[in-house]
């Protein structure tokens, strides 16, 4: 059983924060991820920045462009995972785009990633169709997106290639903009549930503790991205940034009102 599967088996409701690797820098990302792990997060999505992030709204775009200015390599990101894994058993997933992964090598990511303690990878612009033409990953869990626009036939295809969990996009559009959880999530989770026994994580536009607890009513995990990235951006120059992020997540995102 993979670490992700064990985490979902042990915890009925999971919290999954997202941060951009290298925003504001990799050392701080390491501290933030550890603080997130200590504050009740179960799996952490680490965004590997790309120059053309078409699935992301302005907040995550901006964090990516800032991170890119450091010029970190994929090996640096793998090393980040190695350092984090020495100190925590939290789930660690890369979220990124196809081109940086192709450039590093999909097979190499599988091999080096799992050695460093990475658990899975979600490539926003990799469809099940294109993945099926490639050599499949052996070690890492492969997480795919399901969307409100996905047909039943597509949900079937998504299930066939998914491992670890399925990431359900709560609404059409890019990351960051607010989602009306009650209006969209229950029906979509129900439909997806017909196709998969894998845990379902819901993300895009989840910004508050109320949203998180609503998502937990219907799905296994809530993903919060832009709200956290925006918090990091607002406090980026403060010395105790990581600790502040941990407190923010605990108090403003996980505790039910």
């Amino acid at each position: 059983m993979s670490r992700l599967s064990e985490i979902f088996a042990r915890n009925k409701k999971c919290f999954i924060p997202f941060v951009t690797a290298g925003h504001p820098d990799l050392e701080t990302t390491r501290e933030i991820v550890l603080a997130l792990a200590a504050s009740g997060s179960h799996v952490i999505e680490i965004g590997i920045p790309f120059s053309d992030p078409i699935a992301d709204g302005p907040i995550i775009q901006k964090s990516s462009f800032q991170a890119l200015r450091h010029g970190y390599s994929f090996a640096d990101y793998i090393d980040l995972i190695r350092q984090i894994r020495r100190e925590t058993e939290v789930g660690l997933v890369f979220m990124t785009y196809m081109n940086p992964v192709l450039s590093y090598g999909l097979e190499k990511l599988d091999r080096e990633g799992v050695k460093a303690g990475l658990d899975g990878v979600l490539i926003s612009d990799l469809t099940p169709e294109e993945y099926s033409r490639m050599e499949p990953l052996e070690a890492l869990d492969t997480i795919f997106l399901a969307a409100p626009t996905s047909s039943d036939q597509r949900l079937q295809k998504i299930r066939e290639v998914s491992r670890g969990f399925v990431y359900l996009v709560a609404r059409t559009g890019v990351t960051g903009r607010k989602t009306d959880v009650e209006a969209s999530v229950p029906k979509m989770v129900k439909r997806l549930r017909r196709y998969t026994q894998l845990p379902i994580a819901v993300g895009f536009g989840i910004t508050s503790a109320q949203d998180v607890s609503k998502v937990w009513k219907y799905a296994d995990a809530a993903v919060v991205g832009s709200a956290i990235v925006s918090f990091i951006e607002a406090h980026r120059s403060e010395a105790d940034l990581a600790q502040k992020v941990g407190e923010y997540v605990k108090k403003d995102l996980i505790s039910a009102p």
Binding site: F50, S51, F65, S73, F74, L102, T127, G173, V174
Partner: protein, 394 residues
């Protein structure tokens, strides 16, 4: 395998290893819907009749194949110009814009979005949206809006909204990013009218088919005028829609060579040009797998060309395939060579070419030992006159 099958690939969404569908899941259903609707429209005679009628009566097709006598004398062989510059709105872009706008109306989409670099595709899209009463929003990089201020005003006159894109290099690549973000948000009522043979399947195939009217006319015209096929076709390649539009009909004519001319810009270093086949390697951008200018970490590179329409880091996936199988040759000319060609064609033929098309003209100026050549004059140069004047005043 027969002659036909050498260039045909069995999988309709790929060209050999290239092409495909690399998009966030939300866009998969609209792409599948588009593929289906396009397939039905292609087989529908009424759709084809309406498109042909608009191409004829609205866009002004067929465009002439013009024998450029003085230019021919200058280079020492026969040169014919396929006059896409005479299309309504001044470039070949209208061929595709009309086809896709009719398709959008048929699909019940009330809103059209598009990206534009030089403004030619934006103007063509704004034009067909006015004609067919569709809401239109065009994304354009702020750097391109500055370079092509008059085209921005033209689009606004035609009733379109032009939305500035202030991210990355503020050019075509970033305008496409923003258009894709709009589409992923408004998939219900919106059609993305992509302007070149780029993006996820079915765009590269669909746009090529809408543009292949160029080659169908040119092939018929040269046979009428000369009784023989040309020995060479030349066209500039940004995304690659005017070139594939000319080449496609001739692909099975083995005696016809083809050359695609990329933007060599200011030099060979990454960031100084847009010659994907000289400094790029395969990668994924905007939904498709093709040659891509990128750094060693897989981050997409900035590009440079004096011509905004060629200033793009990737190239249509069918071009990558045609290059790998050796059917089409690709080369590049510099900004300077394109400017020289711009001047020479203007003075010798009384035709001011777009700076994009001037790249194809420049190839002929430096190539000898040819016999009968068709250059695709993909657009007219009115939009570039100000850039040329500024350069001369420097």
């Amino acid at each position: 395998m027969g002659k036909k099958s050498r260039l045909a690939t069995s999988d309709p969404s790929h060209f050999g290893d290239y092409g495909g569908v690399f998009v966030p899941e939300t866009l998969m259903s609209p792409l599948e819907e588009l593929e289906k609707a396009y397939g039905e429209a292609r087989a529908d005679q009424e759709f084809q009749r309406e498109l042909e009628e608009l191409l004829h009566l609205f866009a002004g097709r067929p465009t002439p194949l013009f024998q450029a006598r003085r230019f021919s004398e200058h280079v020492g062989y026969q040169v014919y110009l396929k006059r896409e510059d005479l299309c309504h709105t001044g470039a070949h872009k209208i061929n595709n814009a009309l086809g896709q706008a009719l398709l959008a109306r048929r699909m019940g989409k009330s809103r059209i979005i598009a990206e534009t670099g030089a403004g030619q595709h934006g103007v063509a899209t704004a034009t067909v949206c006015a004609l067919l009463d569709l809401e239109c929003e065009v994304y354009m990089g702020v750097e391109d809006m500055r370079r092509q201020a008059l085209n921005v005003f033209r689009m606004e006159l035609l009733g379109a909204r032009v939305t500035p894109v202030d991210a990355g290099s503020c050019t075509l690549k970033d305008a496409i990013n923003e258009a894709m973000r709009d589409w992923v948000t408004n998939v219900e009522n919106t059609h993305y009218l992509l302007g070149s043979v780029l993006g996820a399947h079915p765009y590269p195939t669909m746009v090529r088919n809408f543009q292949s009217v160029i080659g169908r006319e040119a092939r018929r015209q040269i046979l009428e005028q000369e009784g023989k096929l040309p020995d060479l076709l030349v066209a500039c390649v940004g995304g690659g829609s005017n070139s594939i539009g000319l080449f496609h009909e001739f692909l099975e004519d083995e005696q016809v060579r083809m050359v695609g001319v990329e933007a060599g810009g200011k030099g060979k270093d990454l960031g100084q040009h847009a010659a994907r086949f000289q400094g790029g390697r395969p990668g994924v951008l905007h939904g498709t797998y093709s040659y891509l200018l990128q750094d060693e970490l897989g981050q997409v590179s900035t590009t440079h060309s004096i011509s905004a329409g060629l200033d793009y880091p990737s190239i249509g996936p069918e071009h990558a395939y045609l290059r790998d199988v050796g059917r089409v040759e690709y080369t590049s000319v510099s900004d300077q060579e394109a400017l020289e060609a711009f001047k020479i064609l203007s003075e010798l033929e009384g035709i001011i070419p777009a700076l994009e098309s001037a790249h194809a003209v420049a190839y002929c100026l430096k190539t000898k030992e040819l016999n009968r050549v068709i250059i695709n004059l993909s657009g007219r140069g009115d939009k570039d006159v100000e850039i040329i004047r500024d350069l001369r005043q420097k």
